[in-house]
Subunit: 323 residues, 2 copies
């Protein structure tokens, strides 16, 4: 069957975004709902929320469910056959096959699920800054770090579909514990939580005196405060951003050494933060990659689609695999 | 042209191994020479030494140069078109195209060069313990750590052919400096040099009292002494091996998180050491890989071909690409 419209859905820890797109990736409809935080039968509340958004989009576009294919990006490791095996930020849905739950609600739904960062990588590869680039890594900076890897022009899935969990690469074995059970994971440093942690550390160590004063104490300094102060030009806040940029470069260098990717695309929910982190990271990177002087430069570019990349890519994957 | 015999050559930091093989990978001839340590025109001394070995093999098998294809594995990052871009343990040959130097000596030679760990991965994939495994990583433990990565059934080369430099993945950003310029690279811990370093540390910290006594001082304790004592059953030496095994598992866990490889093959020059390290590493691994309880186990197996894997794979690649 041939479809002209796909819905791409990106399920995050706090909100769900739906984009309706045509085959050129043009956005025909955009809708958002909050991610349900209630504990029901696994997957049920999330599926109902998605179904509500789908109904809204169908109504707005005057389409029926038979006319569309739907891709859903999920924040966790996904098996090749669509099970959300482990999702630390969507724990109630871990272990479910959300596509099956959705089809129980709406039996005629054409739907697939894929890892959210893989979806974002697909969007940037098809229509964004990684167009025509065979070897690149999509790094999504949010609360944690997600990853989608392209090698030799194809999405790297690995044995079970779990490839790309770059946020839990240990970069500092003596570092702080991570909820995943390891210590010193990359996302302890170069993510939203990483900025919050390094900012708090800097505040308590006296490296953010102005910000501590403005916030009424080191305990009140949050990651957003550091970003905002850095954007306003505060040199003490910029030094913390620079530190996070160093950690970003360190992980990117590891990926470049392992994968020989020529490009790293930085996206995710914290797009403003990404933009601030790229310049310092690009400064540090050539001092880190093995034999950097003798090889082509590894580039880092901000995602074209920002926080919409996941939903867009989920829609593109639905076109590719379901029609 | 069709060839019945390939020569696979593995150039290491101290010795050069040549294997003549048939299409079934059976070894028809084996020869060794030392790696020249003299500084001549880049690549020249190494090429002459290889040429000598080739002549010896041809004479022994009563073949002429026209009858064989030759693959050479080199210890460094190799470009897709055969330049040895950077080789810390073969510095005089860095920047050369060894195949061209060889053809200047013997114009009719059918020869290609490839990264040595990539060659080892090819051998294990074609005829060894990774036969039929689409996603695996070959980890070669020697002085440092080399890597060859298979994804989706194919050797991962990356943008320029440099993929697989897993030994310079930083796992301990606050760790000891590495000659590559970074700090805390994986090969500072889980390699021959890593064992030597961690053994020396243990000796100076009083954790190897018997060995220190036997060697007449902490300064005299070498990596080989720790291996030998561990093999003989010394519990204090086994504790150091266990520590190295923990670091081996840590890097393997990073690779599994990034690549979702189901198998890691441990090989390289230190085959005895590898065999000792695998059991403790396999104990630690399930506590490290993300969502390990919910996914299939990541296995680690000793290489089938040990220190011959590189030369064997170089020969197989010559069959594949030159005939």
């Amino acid at each position: 069957m041939s479809f002209d419209v796909a819905f791409g859905v990106d399920v995050g820890g706090t909100k769900i975004l739906l984009l309706a797109i045509n085959r050129d990736g043009e956005i025909l409809f955009e809708g958002r709902r909050s991610t349900p935080q209630i504990t029901t039968a696994p997957g049920q509340a999330t599926a109902e929320q998605i179904h509500g958004l789908v109904d809204e989009a169908l109504g707005s576009l005057q389409l029926s469910l038979d006319n569309v294919v739907i891709g859903v990006g999920l924040p966790g490791i996904m098996s090749l056959d669509g099970e959300l095996v482990f999702a630390p930020n969507l724990l109630n849905d871990s272990g479910t096959r959300l596509a099956e739950v959705l089809r129980q609600i709406a039996p005629s739904m054409h739907v697939l699920c894929e890892n959210d960062a893989d979806c974002a990588a697909v969007a940037e590869h098809a229509l964004g800054v990684a167009r025509g680039v065979d070897n690149f890594v999509m790094v999504t900076l949010g609360t944690g770090i997600g990853g989608g890897i392209f090698v030799h022009g194809e999405l790297l899935r690995g044995r079970s579909g779990f490839a790309g969990e770059i946020g839990h690469m240990v970069v500092d074995a003596q570092g702080p514990p991570c909820p995943c059970g390891s210590s010193g994971c990359w996302e302890r440093y170069a993510s939203g939580k990483g900025l919050a942690r390094l900012g708090s550390l800097a505040a308590h160590e006296g490296r953010l005196p102005e910000l501590v004063k403005a916030r009424g104490g080191a305990d009140n300094v949050r990651g957003e405060d550091v970003s905002a102060a850095a954007t306003a030009g505060s040199s003490e806040a910029l030094a913390v951003i620079r530190e996070v940029g160093w950690w970003l470069a360190l992980g990117v260098s590891n990926l470049a050494n392992i994968l020989d990717c020529g490009l790293v695309v930085i996206g995710g929910g914290l797009s403003d933060l990404s933009a601030m982190l790229i310049p310092p990271a690009l400064e540090f990177l050539p001092t880190m990659v093995l034999g950097a002087a003798a090889r082509p430069r590894v580039d880092m570019i901000a995602s074209k689609f920002g926080e919409r990349a996941g939903a867009l890519g989920a829609g593109l994957l639905a076109f590719e695999r379901l029609s």
